[in-house]
Each structure stands twice: as C-alpha cells, then as structure tokens.
C-alpha cells in the first residue's frame, strides 16, 4: 500500500511541480504588488488629492472666466493669460518680485556667510550668536512685521529718530515708492539670514580639516586664499541649496506686504503672491488669479529644475 502511494507520488510529481511552483511564484508576485500598493497607496492618494488635483484645478480654472461664488462659467481659452501679460499691474508686480528676489537672495547669502564665518572664527558664545540670529526665522513674521512697522514709523519710529538725532535725512520708509521695496527686501534678508547662517555653519563644520592643512602646506594660507581654495568651493552644495530655498521663499513673499504696505504706495510694493491673493479673493476674479498662479507655478518649477541640474553638475564635483 505504501508502495503504491509512493510510486503514485513519484508519477504525479514531475508534471505537477512546475505548475505549483509557477503558481506559487505568481501568488508571491501578486502579494508583492499588493504590498507595494498598500505601502505607497496612502502617500500617493494624499499626493493626488492635495497636490495634483488642485494643480489640475488651477490649470482648468485659468482657462475660464469663473468668478469666485458665481454659478456659471465659460471656457475662454488663453484669454486670461493674454490679459495677465498685457496688464500693467501684473508687469509691475512681476518686476517688483524679481527685484525683491534679486536683492534678498544675494544679500541673505553674503550676510549669512559673513556671519557664519565670523561665528566660526570666534571661540566663545557660539551657541548664543547662533540662537539670536536664528530667532527671526522662527518667529511669526506677522508679529515681527508689526515691530518693524513701529521701528519704521515716520515720526515716532526709532530709525527716523536716530537718523534725525544724527542730523541725517529721514524718510517715510513704507510710504515712499523709492524706499518701500528696498525696505521690504531688507526685512526679507533679516528674516532669512538666520536660516542661511545656520546652514552655512553646518557646511563649514563639515569641511575636512585635512583640506585646510593641505592648503597651508601648498601655500594657500592667507585668509583670502584659504577662502578661495577650500571654504567657498566646499560650501558650493550648501550655497546652492540656500539659494533655491531663499529664492523660493522670496518669490512667495506675502505677509510683509499684506501687513505693512498692502502693495502700496500705488503698486510700488506689489508682489506676485499678493497680486494673486487680491485678484482672487478681493476682486473675486478667480480665473485671472488662477492664471497668475500658473505663471507663479512655472517660475517655482523652473527654479527647482535649475537646482537639480546645477547641483548635480557643478556643485557636487562628480
């Protein structure tokens, strides 16, 4: 009996083995696929709901004449974009934004690096300096903006009082169209400085001492030579990162404009995100606002792509 069972088992097996194993393989694969989807699924769902759908929605709205709350809308093609680029207000807003970025980004990088180098070269109070420079980045900007408003007040503000006390000319900083943008940019630098500085400090810490030693032996031991031969090139990646982050933050500046100037005087301090907000939610021209948002999105995506490109090629020295 056992004999027959044995032979039977033997006969069956050759034909069955491949089938069962390929079935097991398929079952194994589908289990794997299931696991993959169930792990990636939630994140993917969130990404679609929170990012792709809204972006798609904005693109769609930009092609219509929808007004916020209106019950009807019609497709207008690229009319909104045509209007955006023909609009003097938008052009001023775009130019203001670019000027603002062009002041804030190099200003933040240069000052942040300078302070980081100073802190790094000093021996005492490092943690203290680091903390006070980092504070503005942590604080709520709206609250800080009110403090700035008080400082910049034309008559009782500390800045004008000091200038007057020194016999220097004063200005109505936030109401003068020549000073308002540089002043906002100054506040922008002040706000981002700590962030840049902390990143630069971390970057400086990670430069191997060996490189400085090699520079000493090679004769690059003067302050400027060390900076040029070792420090600055080694800070390349972190500088690039700061550049992109600060540029993106500068493009998105909204709260200082909203709290301090409302885009005024005239359009002198109007910036992209503020224009977008005003068109969409104050004037309720949602279609127009959406096309501003699309332009804005393009700028942000372009910046991010530049980062990816330049980072890989130029700064990581591969």
């Amino acid at each position: 009996m056992s004999m027959t069972a044995h032979t039977a088992g033997k006969q069956v097996r050759p034909s069955q083995t491949p089938r069962t194993s390929s079935g097991a393989l398929r079952r194994h694969r589908s289990a794997e696929i299931f696991a993959a989807w169930s792990l990636a699924g939630p994140a993917l769902l969130l990404l679609v709901v929170l990012f792709f759908l809204p972006v798609f929605g904005v693109f769609a709205i930009a092609l219509t004449d929808w007004e916020f709350g209106a019950s009807s809308l019609s497709f207008v093609g690229l009319a909104n974009f045509r209007e955006v680029f023909a609009d003097e207000g938008f052009r001023i807003s775009l130019i203001n934004t670019i000027l603002y970025v062009v002041i804030v980004v190099p200003g933040t990088i240069a000052l942040g690096l300078a302070i980081a180098l100073l802190i790094e070269s000093g021996k005492s109070f490092r943690a203290f300096y680091r903390a006070i420079h980092f504070l503005p980045f942590m604080a709520t900007l709206t609250a800080m903006a009110i403090a700035w408003e008080a400082l910049l007040h034309p008559t009782i503000g500390l800045i004008n009082q000091t200038l007057a006390g020194l016999g220097l000319p004063t200005a109505n900083w936030l109401r003068d169209e020549n000073t308002v943008l540089p002043v906002l940019a100054g506040i922008g630098i002040w706000q981002n400085l700590g962030y840049a500085m902390v990143l630069f400090l971390a970057g400086l810490k990670s430069i191997p001492q060996d490189l400085y030693d090699a520079a000493d032996i090679d004769g690059a031991d003067a302050w400027l030579d060390r900076l040029r031969t070792v420090t600055l090139p080694m800070l390349g990646p972190v500088t690039m990162f700061i550049f992109i982050v600060v540029a993106l933050k500068a493009f998105e500046t909204f709260d200082t404009v909203q709290v301090l100037t409302q885009g005024g005087p005239g359009h002198a301090s109007e910036m992209l995100l503020y224009t977008l907000y005003r068109e969409s939610f104050e004037y309720l021209r949602t279609g127009y606002g959406a096309s501003v948002a699309v332009v804005f999105l393009f700028i942000v995506v372009a910046l991010t792509l530049i980062q990816a490109r330049v980072m890989d090629k130029r700064v990581h020295y591969q």
Partner: protein, 391 residues
C-alpha cells in the same frame, strides 16, 4: 637638500601628553619611518615637522634652519595626507598646480578671469602646466589630468596626492600613512613605487605607518614610537634582531616574539618554563627577568636539557614552507610559538611532546622595566654607532 633635527619635542593637548621628550636626527636624503600603534603620536610629530601643529616644548630644525614658528609653506616641506586631501572641485591638473601657482604667481595674477591677462602670468602658467605634465607623466597619471578626484580610484588618487607633493621639489617629503586606504595588493605595489621615488628624488622622506611590513621594507631607519616616546631608532634589521626594549621586540615581528618570565640563579643559569637557560649577562642572583625568543630561533632537538624547552603541541599551522607550532610549556600563560622549516619537522601532530632548542646568542633578555639586558661586554648596535660617530 635638508636633514632634520628634532630636539626634545613635547606636545600636550590640554591635560593629555601626546609626545614626551622626542629627539631624533634625520640625515639628508634618508628614508625614515615613524612606526607605532594607533594613537601613539606619529601623526602629531609629523604635523609638528610640517608646521601644522605647534609643539609645547622643544625645537625642530630643517636643514640648518630652526623652523619653530615658521609657517608650513616657508618650511620647504611637502606632505601627503592619509586622506589624500585633494581639492574635490579641482581637476587633477589644477590640484597639482596649486603649490606652484601659490608660489610663483602674485595675488593679482591669481585672480580669476583678470589674472591671466596680467603681464608675465601667461609665461608662468605655461611653465607650471609643463611641470605638472612632466610630474604626472612620471607617475603614470598623465591621462587623468582632466578628471576630478571623485572620478578616480583610490590608487590613482594616491598618485595625484604624491604628484601634488612632488611638483614643488621640496627638500623634505612627509607622508602620513599614505597607503592605508589601498587594498593589500596595491599597497605592496605602491610600497615599491614610493621606495623608487625616494631613490629618484634623493630627498629626505619621513614616512608614518603602523604597518611594520611597510616600515621594514622601505626604510633606511625605523623609529619605533609608543605612547609618545621614541623607543628605538635603527635600521630595520637591527630593530628586529637587536631590540633595545621589550615593547619594541613585541611590536615588531609576526608571529609575535615569545616572552617568558624567568628567575636568575647562580652560575649563569636562569630558570623558566621548567627548564634552565645559560645566560651570560650581569644580572643579580634572584632577580626576575623576561626572556624573548623569536619563533624562528627554535630548532628541533631529541631530548630535554639546558637551553631546551619541552612541552605538548597544542596546534600546528601549515604555512607552506613553514610550520607554526604552538607549544604548551609549564608555567606559561600563552603557548610558545615556534616557526620550523616544514622539511625539517615532518609529522608533528597535536598532543605530541616536543623539545625545542635555542642557541644562547638568540636569547633576548629584558629587565623587569622592559629595558634590554645585553651579555657581558656587548653593546647595543645603536650605542656602538653613536660612539663611532662621536669619535
């Protein structure tokens, strides 16, 4: 061309003393190796020679010039770092040019963009390029000049680091474990190449390593360091055969030297491990000492007697032409290791009782404090040489 005189160097970091009273004369054109275990202060001493670290006490002279307080770039030294320390953003060509550019071009001529249009800078730049090219060719890295360090293998990086040190034609070459990041095969090859380089350049080399085979194969003299002290400075053969200190004997040689505790008796006999050894040395009766025997100093004998260790074989390791026999001897904590020629010692198996003889002149005697005790009338080779030099 320059020798180096190191006089009574001390170095402390806060409360820890890293170098103690280090004195050393290095001859012009010599290949001297600083050998010692990790953390003994080799790199610190080398960095003091380079001027990267300031000594707490003592003085360094390169050539006939005392260089204490002189900046590294004015010391006429070149250095190869363990990590190679190549500038990652520069090509091989640029890396190797740095020492020359810093020395031959003025601040203005080194400015980016404008610099190259200033008078004279073009000629100097061409000259630098030529020299870099020549050095690179000599090292076999001529085809790599356009690459960045990130695109090179470990061995190629090592050559670039040597090249950067070489272009300047400094009088002294300092190398801090330049081979420790390479695989075993490449290390043996580079060992020969560095030795070759030393012959060709004829300048003074100070080479730091914790690898005794590097030290033994490359050096004119080896300086053995331990815990911030120089224990012995001598040619490789002498370091091995005639160590001044028990710690030197233990550090050099693989398998390690056998050290056995012994007690001195009358009539020149010392007892250890259940046997008596004839010792011709001025040692007081009753004092304890250690006796060192190199594994290859043993030879097989038939029966027990004076100068013969007897024990049970614990383990036999066949190494091809040699056998390593581990022998349990009475009173020893560790087995004694003997290295025997395979053809002379056939058929040894574990558990067997073995008699190993040692010629008296191959016994190395050490006092309780680790200092070498030499037989009557015999001076250490180092002392002999020093005496000759004084006369």
């Amino acid at each position: 061309m320059a020798g180096i005189t190191i006089e009574k160097i001390e170095k402390t970091f806060g409360a820890t003393t890293v170098l103690r009273d280090v004195s050393l004369d290095i001859a012009d054109g010599e290949f001297l190796t600083l050998l010692g275990p990790s953390g003994c202060g080799k790199s610190t001493l080398l960095r003091i020679l380079a001027g990267l670290e300031v000594q707490t006490g003592g003085s360094v002279a390169i050539g006939d010039r005392v260089v204490d307080g002189v900046r590294p770039k004015l010391r006429d030294v070149a250095m190869v770092f363990q990590s190679y320390a190549l500038y990652p953003h520069m090509t091989v060509q640029e890396n190797m040019s740095v020492p020359l550019r810093m020395r031959r071009l003025s601040n203005w001529q080194r400015l980016p963009l404008i610099g190259r249009f200033l008078p004279g800078s073009k000629a100097v730049a061409a000259e630098i390029e030529n020299e870099v090219m020549r050095t690179a060719k000599a090292l076999g890295i001529g085809h790599l000049l356009g690459r960045k360090p990130g695109q090179l293998s470990g061995g190629q990086r090592q050559r670039v680091a040597v090249g950067r040190a070489m272009v300047r034609q400094a009088a002294v070459f300092l190398m801090d474990e330049p081979l420790s990041n390479l695989d075993a095969k490449l290390r043996v090859q580079m060992r020969a190449e560095i030795k070759e380089l030393h012959k060709r350049l004829g300048v003074t080399f100070v080479y730091v390593t914790h690898d005794q085979s590097e030290a033994m194969t490359m050096s004119d003299r080896v300086a053995v360091m331990l815990d911030g002290e120089l224990l012995q400075v001598a040619p490789p053969q002498e370091i091995y055969a005639d160590p001044d200190d028990r710690r030197v004997a233990e550090f050099i040689g693989s398998p390690k030297i056998n050290i056995l505790d012994a007690k001195m008796h009358e009539n020149g006999l010392a007892s250890m491990a259940g046997t008596a050894f004839a010792v011709r040395a001025p040692i007081a009766r009753g004092s304890s000492l250690s006796i060192g025997i190199r594994p290859e100093a043993f030879h097989l004998v038939d029966s027990h007697g004076v100068n013969i260790l007897t024990g049970a074989v614990r383990l036999v390791e066949h190494m091809g032409s040699d056998l390593f026999v581990h022998l349990d001897v009475p009173g020893g904590d560790h087995p004694v290791v003997a290295r025997l020629l395979a053809e002379r010692a056939p058929q040894i198996s574990s558990g067997q009782t073995l008699h190993l003889g040692v010629k008296p002149e191959r016994l190395l005697l050490f006092a309780a404090d680790g200092k070498r005790i030499r037989p009557h009338g015999q001076l250490g080779a180092t002392v002999v040489r020093m005496k000759e030099r004084l006369q």
